[in-house]
Amino acid sequence: MSVKILVVDDEENLRFLYERELLDEGYEIILARDGRECLDMVEQHAPDLIILDIRMPRMDGLEAIGKIIEINKHIPIIINSAYSTYKDDFMSWAADAYVVKSYDLDSLKSTIRDVLEKKHLKK
């Protein structure tokens, strides 16, 4: 069974980019445009991992983290933000990893592998 990843980002182009690249890696991809859509998707589709942008309209990533954990305490979360400054925000510490956005997705991809591996080890 393939791993289902929820990508949360308000930029359509980026969602498209992540979807295409991560599909190539063999993951199943579902998408959300902001924190609120993210919570709906977590409830309805039970993803195996979340890639979460921070600056988004309606509900930002930091607010979403607390609520995601409330729905599913085990779900791994990778923060994927254009800014590194949110590392100082305590809520961001609840994520399993923090990746600063770049158009080269190698770092994100290897982080996904690491986080999934750790999750398997825990089981």
Partner: protein, 405 residues
């Protein structure tokens, strides 16, 4: 100097203090005449130069809110000093606080705003006087991640407390929650070290451990039960021992969580030289001050072998008028009226209680605003008392707020 933020947990329901907690949160229950229970912890903070104080509430907080407004808005926010109440805000998720640890976790935003180096986690329902600066000093000296205040106690009380086991250097090695067979202090087979529920955390460690705890599905999200036991494996956890400096005995500390404990801690104040001395200019306990006439005891008379117009071994607050009555070994809060030939013994009367003439009251706690009509007896006939109020396990009668009879 380290930047320290105090967070006082005031969110418990206080069910074992019912009916005193029927209309108010436990920290807001009046104590020792003019005080509220929480005044002790806040005064400790102020006296220890910790002047950033948040109080976390969730149940029945109106009374507490009002008290904090009246008594504690004396600090100047412009200079970063404050005593503020934070009600449960459902900021992180849509739940009420699930435990002591969850209360702090849900207030990450506040921690974020202040960014202290150290967080003191305190409880709003303990009666004690403690200089937190010594504990902070030890915390820094030991390079601890967490320091827990502890005190020695006889092992027979183990089932009421969290028990701490320490190494020779004071590092905490084990934790038992309310054990029947506790681990005793090495070399003192009859003594145990109890967790007083007073913690100093390095902020970053606190945040990390609270997040880990929030992601544990079967946790009760409690510091004593969950967070601290699991920290023993990962962090430097030390015990601070709370001693009275004059006697080098254990200091005075009471968790007034039950009617009995509340009653006893009040009565302790009536001793000639109580450990919980309220007349200590070096460690004042502050509270709100309202205007009223001074207390007055009048109408001395001897009748049928009883002295009236006298007060013995008692605390009497401002605004009380005791006319030709006999008060013995009792605590009278502000603005109480006691009528002629009434006898009050071993009792605690809270604000604005009116006792009529020829009443007899013994071993009772009478909540605010109660009006007792002439000739009433309380504390002599359990059957009759049960109709008026609640009777505790040891027979203390508690009359709920605003009862009229």
């Amino acid at each position: 100097m380290k930047k320290i933020l105090a967070m006082i947990l005031a969110g418990g329901k206080g069910e074992r203090l019912h009916p005193l907690t029927r209309d108010r949160a436990k920290p807001s229950v009046p104590f020792g005449g003019a005080y509220r229970i929480i005044d002790f912890t806040i005064s400790n903070c102020i006296n220890s130069d910790i002047r950033k104080v948040y109080i976390l509430t969730q149940y029945k907080s109106l009374s507490l809110d009002r008290h904090i407004q009246r008594a504690w808005n004396a600090l100047n926010g412009r200079f970063g000093e404050f005593v503020y109440i934070i009600h449960a805000q459902q900021r992180v998720n849509e739940n009420w606080y699930k435990g002591t640890a969850d209360a702090i976790y849900q207030n990450f935003y506040t921690l974020q705003q202040e960014k202290p180096d150290l967080v003191m986690v305190l409880s709003g329902d303990h009666i004690y006087k403690m200089d937190y600066r010594e504990m902070v000093e030890q915390h820094i000296k030991k390079k601890a991640d967490l320091t827990i205040a502890t005190m020695e106690m006889d092992k027979q009380f183990s089932k009421d407390f969290g028990i701490v086991q320490i190494s020779k250097t004071g590092q905490v090695k084990g934790f038992q929650e309310k054990p029947i067979k506790p681990v005793t202090i090495p070399g003192k087979p009859d003594s145990i070290l109890i967790n007083m529920g007073i913690y100093i955390f390095n902020t970053d460690v606190l945040v990390k451990r609270l997040i880990e705890n929030a992601r544990k599905p079967d946790s009760q999200h409690d510091f004593g039960k969950n967070v601290i036991p699991s920290m023993l494996k990962t962090d430097r956890v030390f015990a601070y021992s709370f001693n009275d400096k004059q006697t080098s005995q254990s200091g005075y500390w009471r968790d007034v969580g039950t009617i009995e404990a509340y009653y006893d801690a009040n009565m302790d104040l009536l001793e000639e030289n109580p450990q919980s001395n309220l007349f200590d200019n070096n460690w004042p306990i502050f509270t709100s001050e309202k205007q009223s006439a001074q207390a007055k005891v009048c109408g001395f008379e001897q009748k049928d072998g009883q002295l009236y117009g006298v007060m013995l071994d008692s605390i009497i607050s401002r605004g009380c008028l005791i006319n030709r009555a006999h008060i013995e070994h009792s605590i009278l809060s502000p603005n109480i009226r006691v009528g002629q030939y009434s006898v009050i013994q071993d009792s605690i009367l809270l604000d604005n209680v009116t006792i009529g003439k020829n009443c007899k009251i013994k071993r009772a706690i009478i909540d605010k605003g109660v009006i007792v009509s002439d000739g009433t007896e309380i504390g002599f006939n359990p059957k009759k008392d049960a109709q008026k109020g609640t009777i505790s396990d040891t027979g203390i009668v508690v009359i709920p707020k605003n009862t009229v009879f």
